[in-house]
Amino acid sequence: MSDRVYSKTAGWQDMAAGGVIPQAGNAEEYATGGWRTFRPVRDDEKCIDCLQCWIYCPDNAIKVIDQKVSGIPYDLVHCKGCGVCAAICPVKCIEMKPETDFEDEN
């Protein structure tokens, strides 16, 4: 049975038999942000760093440094665009913008 490493360019011959993931603890490498149609954009001026968005984000896509989220970019590789952060924010400083607005960046 083959025991090769995963890659999206690999053919079926290179897959590990049984569809197992031979490397442990690699969920972090699985980019799930591709599902996103809306992207959260925070107004750092208005943010009061209450950390509600960080608590509620279902995918750990909001990063905290020194008990602050303001000024720290979202982890867009994993953000699904679910909008929970925007809905929960008490000062409504997060806007969900369509991904098409960011086509140049993408």
Partner: protein, 393 residues
């Protein structure tokens, strides 16, 4: 040297399981396979095996426990029939997809409705696309021999697929026959110690089993799984030969009875093939060039070998002990006919559906089928493509 003893088909399989001494057996009783597990549970209680016996509350749980135990690194076995197999459905696919070499003894029985506990092949045929190897035995001896071979075939490094050891319910499972049972040590030596591949209990080398597998990998994984079936076919041939060298009973993908010069031939699975042998011998004594293809391995389907064996016949009947509801033909016929057509064998083939729900088939009915094949041979007239033998009306 083996010991010849009178055994029911179920007991013969339980005996093989005792000699194999698997690490885990998880099962839930269902007629007509109950005796296999019941007898084996006694072996466990009496300390004749070191197996961890898991009494579960359903067949779904039984196959779940078996698949998980195999993933953990154990040699695992199980037994069921009909609706029990149907309740395992979801897990059957998972066992095969995860490439776990579980061996399931399937005592073939009709699926409800209506409720029926007797033999037909609707259970095995229903599971034909789940990815399991399927080997059909003719009698108790073959049930015993195939059980041992399934272990070796499934566990081969280039196969690692689960297998079903099928015998006909009641006709074989509950009928006493003289069975040659080999020495315990010889069986253990023949199967060898179990070498698990990536056991989950090897905590120093962690990996993930059964992850989410979407459009980005699933197709490649399934294509990868498909590549194991040609290996399985080779493994069945090689292990069948090796079994013959060790114990004197050699096995292949099929058994060809008088097929070299046969003009009219029948394809059959399971115990009916045994009856066909008598009919062929009788017809041969009367000068009819009759032959039989007793198919042993239904999955992987040996299409090239079947066509090679049948291509010189003038008319062929494929016996299905199962119907495929809404399809035009029975499952075995569909595959044999497709193989013949694809490989350019222009032999008229008819489909016989028989024996549903344990209805017996008699030698004179089989002889009638050969008679009809003789008509097709001489008149060249296409007969009814499907006929139902033994049904009233």
């Amino acid at each position: 040297m083996g010991k010849v003893m009178p055994l029911e088909g179920n007991n013969a399989i339980a005996e093989a399981m005792r000699q194999i001494n698997p690490d885990v057996v998880a099962a839930y009783p269902i007629t007509p396979s109950t005796e296999i597990v019941q007898t084996f549970a006694k072996f466990v209680a009496d300390g004749k095996v070191t197996t961890n016996f898991v009494a579960v509350e359903s067949e779904h749980s039984a196959m779940s426990a078996c698949t998980a135990a195999a993933a953990a690194g154990g040699r695992v076995m199980n037994a069921t029939s009909a609706n029990g197999l149907a309740l395992m459905w979801e897990i059957l696919y998972i066992t095969a997809s995860l490439r776990q070499p579980v061996v399931l003894n399937l005592v073939n029985r009709a699926l409800s409705g209506n409720i029926n506990i007797h033999c037909d092949h609707s259970d095995g045929m229903g599971a034909r696309d789940s990815g399991w190897i399927q080997i059909y035995g003719e009698n108790a001896q073959e049930g015993y021999d195939n059980c041992i071979q399934c272990v070796a075939i499934s566990e081969r490094e280039d196969v690692r697929l689960p297998s079903m050891n099928c015998i006909d319910g009641f006709f074989v499972s509950h009928a006493y026959e003289m069975v040659e049972v080999e020495e315990d040590a010889a069986v253990q030596e023949w199967i060898g110690p179990y070498k698990p591949v990536r056991p989950l209990l090897d905590i120093k080398n962690p990996y993930t089993v059964g992850p989410l597998d979407l459009w980005d990998y699933y197709f490649e994984h399934k294509r990868n799984q498909l590549s194991a079936y040609p290996n399985a076919k080779e493994a069945i041939i090689e292990e069948g030969k090796r079994f013959g060298q060790a114990f004197g009973r050699e096995y292949g993908l099929m058994e060809c009875v008088d097929l070299e010069d046969a003009e009219v031939a029948v394809v059959a699975l399971g115990s009916t093939a045994g009856m066909c042998k008598d009919v062929v011998a009788d017809l041969r004594s009367k000068g009819v060039k009759a032959g039989l293809l007793k198919l042993r391995v239904f999955r992987p389907f040996p299409d090239a070998e079947i066509v090679a064996a049948l291509r010189n016949c003038k008319a062929v009947a494929v016996f299905d002990r199962a119907a495929s509801y809404g399809a035009s033909y029975g499952p075995l016929y569909s595959e044999v006919a497709a193989a013949m057509y694809t490989r350019g064998a222009n032999v008229p083939c008819v489909n016989i559906i028989y024996g549903l729900g344990g209805r017996e088939i008699r030698p004179d009915q089989i002889a009638d089928v050969y008679g009809k094949l003789n008509d097709i041979k001489t008149t060249g007239q296409p007969a009814d493509p499907v006929s139902y033998v033994g049904v009233r009306g």
